[in-house]
Amino acid sequence: MMQEFFHIMFLPLVACLILAGIYAYLGFHVIERQVIFVDLALAQIAVLGASCALILGHELDSVFSYWLSLGFTIAGAAIFSLTRFKKQRVPQEAIIGIVYAVSAAMLIIVLSRSGEGDEHIKQALVGNILLVTLPEVIRIFIICCVIGILHFFFRHQFFMISKSPDEAFNKGLNVRMWDFLFYVTFGFIVTSSVRTAGVLLVFSFLVVPSVCAMLFSDHIRTRLLLGWGIGLLASILGMAISYYLDFPTGASVVCAFGLILLALTIIKKLLRAY
């Protein structure tokens, strides 16, 4: 039984663990910046890019399609970094919401005029982590490593623009440039993983571990470690739920995240009561 579990769930589990690793870290930034839905907006932009590639006659899984959706994502990154000001009057969440809505609407227009049936596109946003292939896992792993290393080298800059942008401005850091770099790397990861995992799962990997960790600590290091632990736990729990109860895999992991958040909230309340 256990052997069969690993035979079927091994690759999805590995994919989940890789994503949990990178997204728990990125989630920290996203929560600090209060740009929670930025991944949805970037995913939508990436899909818009892919469907434009389709109209130009390139299949969804072609190299051209990948680069075009990446190009679109970089444009999105530029929008997000240019709309962040020292004194923010329009909240960034509003900009993100607008970008999401407009790119979703443009997608509808693009598809209505010509191109592929929109179910294929929907598929690109839903993904099915259960059927992930080894080359896909390797590709995601390499991308996550490259971006992880980049973020490790420039961690001081990245943490400063996320946690205390005022201080960064005052220190004369080129906040706009670092912001842009942040969104480009973030967009790279989103573009590469949404087709495999789907937007729901990516969103959960991004936000839930950080939120859970925030319940218990204020320190960056502790929060990151807690976040990774929670990502790991949710992935394993989700795989087990999906396998033993035979539920769709991605949705099971998302619900496992919800369960863990609920359990941790209760534990926190109990801890405080005593």
Partner: protein, 307 residues
Amino acid sequence: MNNKLSQLLCLLWAAVFSFAPHVFAAEKPWNLVTTQTIFADLVKRIGKDKVVVTAIASPKYNIHFIQPKPSDVRKVAKADLYFNAGLDLEAWSDPLLEAAGQPQLFRSGSRNVDLSSGIRLLNVPQSAVSRSQGDIHLFGNPHFQMSPENARIMAKTILEKLKGNDPANAAYYEQNAKAFLMRLDQKIAEWKNLCAHCAGKEIISYHDDIAYFADFLGLKVDQFLEPKPGIPPTPKHLQFLEDYVKEHQVKAIVMPTYFTREAAETLAKRVGAKVVTICQGVGEVPGTDDFFSFFDSNFKQISEGLK
């Protein structure tokens, strides 16, 4: 005495193990997996009690887009044979096979049975196609299960495969296939008779999944609710269809259960036509639980729809 007992046990052990595999091998039915329910029914009709057949795709959903679950991967991993429509109908099938990890079950593997083989395909693109034409099927229309004539060819493919993998029971499979084909001949005559008045009439279909059905009955299908395959109806296209239906006196708009009905209902209401449910899979609606009742239902529907 202990020694003797253990010797005896050893003997018993050996006896059980030398006989058991043969006994089990003879009795254990094969484990066969199909993509669609209609294929499962056909395989069962020829394999009968020598086979256990399960279908992956629920007939309640569009066959192009199925989300396999862990149990589906498990089923396929244990399958002795995998029957599928081939072509590019079941887009989820290749990733599913890959996840199950049995190379012999992969496309063109020795345990993969492509039921489209030998079938005369309709709508094969004559010129180079591009994606701007919508979800175009590069090899031809893959909804070939919709004509009972094609069941003859599929039955032969299934028979050959079962015989090839289990020669000991060849005669049994032959006999079952023969019985099925005889009943099929009778039923085809009955269905043609029931729908004789349909020949030459025109219908509108939601998706281009009706070509073989139409071909069987001599129906004409030129227009679809989808402006392009896979793209939901647009207002302008509905307007175009409204004029078209009036001009050509089309009486019926046909569609399976899993597409949204609003567009078809709206059009039908505007022009005074009927929306007729033509199932694509065995078990899609109650009373279509096997091959024959599935076609019984479809032909009854179209016959009444075009009266």
